[in-house]
């Protein structure tokens, strides 16, 4: 179908508007991170920095000085916490999802799981705090991993179940027919077919854990366990708030999930089911 010039203009105009609307804050974040401190406090605001200044990135990425140490240990903690929770949640969610999808496990149970994420986190804070405090587990990465795994599990299970539901049943029946056990079938037949779903679930879970602030704020109190969202808040809570530093931390904190998304993109897009049944 051919579009007239005016239609094309409207179309591209709308696309551009959407792009500006979603990308402008991110762009401003990048600009802030490389602007001189004086540029950021000027009135009226200076949109284009007078000079490009990468010194904040340098200080954040070097172990010399407080900023670098605070940022790098928070980055390490975040990677461990989000990565660990995602791995644990997937490891538990996949067999659970298979049970719900193919072995007629009670749906009531799944809905009970899902109900837990409908409660506001504040309701869990007190009992969790008391429990972890009793066992001396406050301010540990492993504690956050446990909390995040519990938080991610219902959603990951539900997402995986929905994806296993649509896989061709006959392929699994064929595997059972050939004598394969359920774990062998899941590992060799179901998982390769569900790879796009697993990638999507892993990415979403990682993002949720990566951005989580509230539990991390309450359960951690120093460099050994604090995650990036808490660290960013700390940067803004000092005597003098350096917006540039906060912006730089923000940009750097966006990178790991962004890299993850790009790396997993090919799994998410490709249709691996092609060729299994008639096509």
């Amino acid at each position: 179908m051919r579009r007239s010039l005016s239609q094309t203009l409207v179309l591209y105009g709308c696309a551009a508007l959407l792009a500006v609307f979603t990308l402008a804050p991110l762009l401003w974040l990048v600009v802030m991170s490389i602007s001189a401190p004086t540029d950021l406090t000027e009135v009226p605001l200076r949109w284009i920095p007078s000079q490009v200044d990468f010194s904040r990135y340098a200080s954040l990425l070097s172990l010399e000085g407080g900023n670098g140490e605070r940022f790098l240990s928070a980055l390490r903690n975040s990677l461990l916490t989000a990565g660990g929770a995602t791995a644990a949640a997937l490891l538990l969610a996949i067999p659970a999802a298979y049970a719900f999808s193919r072995r007629r496990a009670s749906m009531v149970l799944l809905f009970a799981f899902l109900a837990t994420i409908m409660m506001p986190p504040i309701t869990y804070i007190l009992p969790l705090y008391a429990t972890f405090s009793t066992f001396g587990m406050l301010n540990h990465t492993i504690t956050l991993v446990i909390v995040y795994t519990a938080m991610l599990l219902p959603f990951a299970t539900w997402l995986m179940k929905a994806n296993i539901d649509v896989l061709p049943l006959e392929v699994e029946q064929a595997a059972f027919m050939e004598g394969a056990s359920t774990p062998y079938t899941i590992r060799e037949v179901v998982l390769p077919l569900a790879l796009p779903a697993i990638a999507a679930t892993a990415m979403l879970s990682f993002l949720v854990a990566w951005d989580e602030f509230f539990y991390a704020l309450i359960f951690t109190n120093d460099l050994s366990a604090k995650t990036l969202p808490v660290a960013i808040a700390d940067f803004s809570a000092g005597r003098v708030t350096d917006y540039g530093v906060i912006a730089s931390v923000g940009v750097l904190a966006t990178l790991p999930p962004a890299i993850l998304a790009i790396a997993f993109q090919k799994f998410i897009v490709s249709g691996l089911v092609a060729g299994s049944v008639k096509g």
Binding site: E170, A174, G179, E188, L193, G275, S276, V277
Partner: protein, 375 residues
Amino acid sequence: MQQTSILTIDSLHKTYGDVAVLKDITLTMEPGEFLVLVGPSGCGKSTLLSCISGLTEITSGAIGIAGKDRTHDEPADRDIAMVFQSYALFPNMSVARNIGFGLEVRKVAEAEKKQKVAEVAELLKIAQLLERKPAELSGGQRQRVAMGRALVRDPKLFLFDEPLSNLDAKLRVTMRTEIKRIHQTTGASIVYVTHDQIEAMTLASRIVVMKDGVIQQIGTPQEIYNTPVNAFVADFMGAPSMNLMTAQVARDGDRIRIEIPAADGVPVELFDYGTPPERLPDGHGNVLVGLRPEAMRDAAQMNGALNNRHIQTASCLLDVVEPAGADTYAVINLGGKEAVARLSADADVQAGERTEIAFDLSKISYFDMDSGVRL
């Protein structure tokens, strides 16, 4: 020595809630047989296969395979292999691994596995495809891989679930021949489900005709074709199907007098010398008379055979004439039905004209008007 039956099914019932899908199925199958389950959609043939495979738990009854009771065994323990309608290949594995999957699961040594896969690939003419993925294969090739996966383990019993229904018409005929060839060379015992009665006729050593979860008839293709036990089997098997015409029959000494009303008011009168008259109910009555299209030919082609007393001629009004290459089919309005006569290809006939039709009564069937049961 008495051979053990490869498959015995004893009064099997299967119900889903209140719906009885299979009712009192009993059958036995000997080694090397090619048993075809055939029937219209929803007759329960696929469910029966699924019960034999163990993928569906049965409600009551017993299933024995190769002399062992397998009623409640897992599919993997039944010593069977199945070819699925959708092929159900593992898309992430090469053709070689697909075929060898059963051996891989059973931890067969690598060298032996490789050799067996190669042998089967050779048999199925897919040796050059072993490294490919299923997505890179055509429909017919996928079908061969699915069969290869079943063949490689050399199980006691093979189950085929409508394996050809996803192929185009031409390939279907080729693969049908291929399956028959494999059956002949390997002597495998096969249970084969299809809704296609031509597939059933060409492949089967015995056919099981099913309807509404009940076995209608079990027999060789010839038995099913020539002596169907009821009007349903007569109508379902054969293409075009058997002509079932309502007719007045009466005992007439040692023969049966048949009068078939025609649409133009001139009834066709025939005498059956082959069937003992006692088989029919006494006195006058309406019955369904069954004649295959090939038992109704053009008299002009039958010159020599006309002395045979089983072959009688009558003048009929042709309703429609359909040339089909090897034959010409003529539709005649007889006994309230559109009866099809199979005329020779070069028969000089026109729709709307009268022609002498030769009726061959040697293979005539009679069915009860109400129950449809063979008399």
